[in-house]
Symmetry: D2
Subunit: 350 residues, 4 copies
């Protein structure tokens, strides 16, 4: 929303890389929702998609990321391209000293993830990772309550995510698997909500929704048990298909009680009839988290303006991936796996 008169800023120019669904959404947010912001470039390999998107938001189009990133008029970049390009683009943006907001995950491999983080750190550019749930008003409120002591000492954390239906098999085949693609949001949330690190994981997985998912070595239904560095326990469950809609809920339990972020009804309507009392369930993650994507981008811009570090760092991206890596290995090997710590002496930390 626009600021009050008198708090003008120099317009901030953010190049948007990727004009798919989420790239368009971020471009619209930057162009229309964030005060005194503009989108100078849309970078997109598909010319007609890129040109249309650019026209909508008053941008130029290019298929060459370097052209946009190198442009001196560009203040920052937002990366919403396919995952396998994230690390390269982070390194490129870092080499030009441009601050970065990158969709999760940084990369499906830890090696490239570490390299990209390192590039941003060496260049001294802010790197924000797109775990949008951290900007959801319910999760922000829950974390505040927990910080303020509402659950006392954390003892037991439960997180569930279920999509309404599986993504296409072609996508799943390059997704890194359900732990890196889906559960990773919960691995990040449990770190965010508790302020503790996961040190060990044991994971069961099964292909119950679609045997083809099992044939590519992946699972569509998983249970990952967690041990935290303070001794607390946790469990993350995920499914690729919930016929009733998009089902995300999280509970943090401790010595002083519990805080729950519950499921989202679609509206405030309840119907009472002979068959009972019914309300609609939310069906799609964009219904649930639409506002979060906007706040995420607003916060990226605000951090740049105020010289603050982003709320979700490269290290947050790495730590969630490390849990997902351990869960994947545990699922395949049938034994608990220690979660890798950050290998470097360096110190992004939390």
């Amino acid at each position: 929303m626009s600021a009050a008169p008198g708090t003008r800023h120099a317009p901030l120019a953010v190049a948007v890389l990727g004009a798919g669904r989420i790239g368009r959404k971020h471009a619209e947010t930057l162009a229309h929702r964030v005060e005194s912001c503009r989108v100078p470039w849309i970078v997109e390999p598909l010319e007609d998609v890129g040109r249309a998107c650019a026209a909508d938001f008053g941008a130029k189009w290019t298929s060459d990321p370097a052209e946009a990133i190198a442009d001196p008029a560009v203040d920052a970049v937002l990366i919403a391209t396919p995952t396998n390009t994230h690390a390269d683009l982070i390194e490129l943006a870092a080499s030009y000293g441009k601050p970065i907001l990158c969709e999760k995950p940084i990369d499906l491999t830890m090696e490239r993830t570490l390299a990209a983080i390192s590039a941003a750190e060496k260049a001294g550019v802010p790197l924000q990772i797109g775990f949008q749930r951290r900007y959801d008003p319910s999760y922000v409120r829950a974390r505040k309550m927990i910080e303020d002591g509402a659950v006392g000492k954390v003892e037991l954390v439960t997180a569930t995510s279920r999509d309404p239906q599986p993504a296409p098999l072609a996508y799943l085949a390059v997704s890194g698997g359900i732990f890196r693609d889906c559960s990773i949001h919960d691995f990040d949330l449990v770190r965010y909500l508790t302020g503790h690190e996961v040190v060990e994981v044991f994971a069961y997985g099964a292909a119950l929704v679609d045997p083809a998912i099992g044939e590519i070595g992946d699972a569509d239904t998983v249970v990952a048990s967690l041990r935290f560095d303070n001794g607390a326990l946790g469990v993350v469950t995920s499914s690729r298909r919930a016929v009733y809609g998009y089902d995300v809920s999280t509970e943090v339990f401790g010595s002083g009680g519990k805080v729950v972020v519950g499921e989202a009804p679609e509206t405030l309507v309840r119907r009472y009839g002979k068959d009972g009392v019914t309300h609609d369930n939310i069906y799609w993650f964009l219904q649930r988290f639409e506002a979060s994507y906007v706040v995420e981008v607003e916060d990226f811009v605000a951090c740049l303006r105020e010289g603050r570090a982003p709320r979700v760092t490269g290290e947050d991206g790495r730590a969630a991936l490390a849990i997902a890596d351990a869960a994947t290995q545990s699922f395949k090997e049938g034994r608990p796996i220690a979660v890798a710590k950050r290998p470097l002496p360096a110190g992004a930390g939390r």
Copy 2:
């Protein structure tokens, strides 16, 4: 949200009259949220407020409504000025043949309300009234369910509105009283949800929140019983102060069940502690109905483009006011009062 490429429209120019809280919000919606729309003029008596608002949305400023309305580049006008100016501005816009979206109510008197409606009708310009609740996803869903038979034949309707705190006394003194200022939203909702007209009202009122409200002849706590044209009964209750926040809920009950639009929690968070299970309540009407204001303006523009009649007409404004008038008279005279029908032979109808 912007339309997909290829569905371009000629930009529609909507002058915004009034740069207060709600005028600004509408200007922002027109400038930033509605595809291919622009705000050529901000009309506002206070120069600095008007200029600042105009600058934010790429508009020119004037203190003279006629200057903006008469501008041939202006396609339509949005009236968000104080209530006592609405009827004059509707007549002015009608005289220039410009379609109108006017905040509720049209006027506090039935005479001027009828005159303004008549002016728009004679000029053949669309007149949409700003009962924003009709664009709320929950109320839209409820009406759809009721139309589809979810409650069978309507028998008993209950509607409640409570503000978190009274407006300033200076505002209340010119507000037309609680029935015309606050309950009027519920009088409109019960017509919208049931498709039936209210024919008689009996109202109790009391000044329990603030005796000063009683001293100006108004009430801050009211119960208005309703009889509908199909024999159904109803009740609207309102209060100027609910310490727990903004409390709006509505129930339509009938031979086949009931549909309830319930209260709005602020977030999806619940806290469990020694004192029980607690969630936050919503506090402010803009939290509850923010999306509705946007959809209302989007629909105004879409109706103009598609040549559809607005969803909320001048007659809807008159009918709700007629119920509020009857309630006010009943409150003062202590007896049931018949609701005035539209006096003209004419035929806006519903």
Copy 3:
């Protein structure tokens, strides 16, 4: 539940008058649930019903109320006969000095109600009226909260009762009408919860469920607006038919917030499917208030043992009837009606 060893009491002998559904239930409670209590007599005109009931609870049967009431072994009487016999039986029991628990209402006429109360007062026998909702854990908790200040000063009270289906027309014809038969529970509740008296009523009524109900001069759907002695307002709505079950809810709103006693789900089960999220609603008043009937009888016995006055007095019965009388008159005459105060100088009070 039985008392702990060592708190023995002399067995209390309570004659039960009436062996219908509710009489049987009370007899079972007295015989099996209340410690050291027994049922010496079942009084019932139908011999086989009476004998069977007596056999189940170790009682003797008679068709003659006087035989049971006069028995020196009888300590108290419980009246669960048809309403038109209540006042006579109260007077009879009073004449023998026997404490009385009488189902509501005392009588459908104010004259006989006052006479019965007076008889009990003159005889100095406790007279408890069977408004069982006052013993429901939810209503007890709500009243405690309100007494403790949870809503501050009471300003607006809302109470709803809906039966799943109308009683047979033959019953309705002698029921005294919907206000005396159904809404009376809510008229009692609003007095109980607020501690205030209703001074005026305006009531709308309609026969929407069954025209035959209208033909006997009764309504099946009603809205009764209330004014309280402290200036607060209220509304009671009732319906003879809710297809989704038994629907009772009550809200007390005031300067400090509100307390709601809500609807009762049948179980704790929720089902999530393609059609949304559904739970069962309770269907029958005995599911909702079964425990209350037991506590009511336990409390009657406890009051006798401890020499306490009953929690629900003859005056409570009269006051609720007076509101029902005023509502009935208002419904018939179309104007607000003052609620009759207790005519006597005497002093049951609350």
Copy 4:
């Protein structure tokens, strides 16, 4: 509740072994709630406790189980003694051919559990195990829905149990550990609700509530991941201390949706104030499951009368213990453990 006249049965005499809290409750149910049932003996080592209990329910007292069990007037026995006596008493009752209702668990060791089941089978006497949750109306309803296809093919099961506070350490030391003492209810529930067997368990445990619990080799906070024989996954979490009360909830998710048995509010009251909207949580398992204990005993008697097998068998007791054994071993050894199948060729089965 008593049966209707005309369905008389010969009185059934059930000896109650153990006059502690739960033994008293069962004796009361048999003596007062179940039609045509009586309690001929209370068996209790503490004479005063036993005599008092016997007096309350019209029974004789003995400290010698054999005296009661051998009495030809005794038709069946209910075992509510400490766990370490269950197997011996089952064998004793079986040797006299008396049907048995035994509180869970049969024994803390699999060896004695199998021996007791075998003794009952050889003697041909019904053996019902006291998993009272299977008689809770919510769980009964949930199972019915699942059997009727509400969740389609079961894929993911989640069950949580939390006590308000830990039992005394002296009790915990002989309880068999949290999996056999607390989680065992959920291990039984997941079998009951899904109709599938658990084949493997991985369990984490920690002593977070009280380090002394860790010092005796037990945990107070656990997460047990499950694999079922149909490939479905599950997770059971338990805690010895939830400050907000007794927290039991269960979710069965599958290809067609999910069924949830949720938490239990203490009453139907909600309070709205400046701090939000609050309701009371239930605090004690007897509030949550009181009705279940009564239905459990009623069903035991009904099964005997009708010659039906009990709803909860010795095999159910063994199977839940086998899961608890595997969970305990997994917790101690840090690896997944296969759940032992019934070793015998025999065939209680489910």
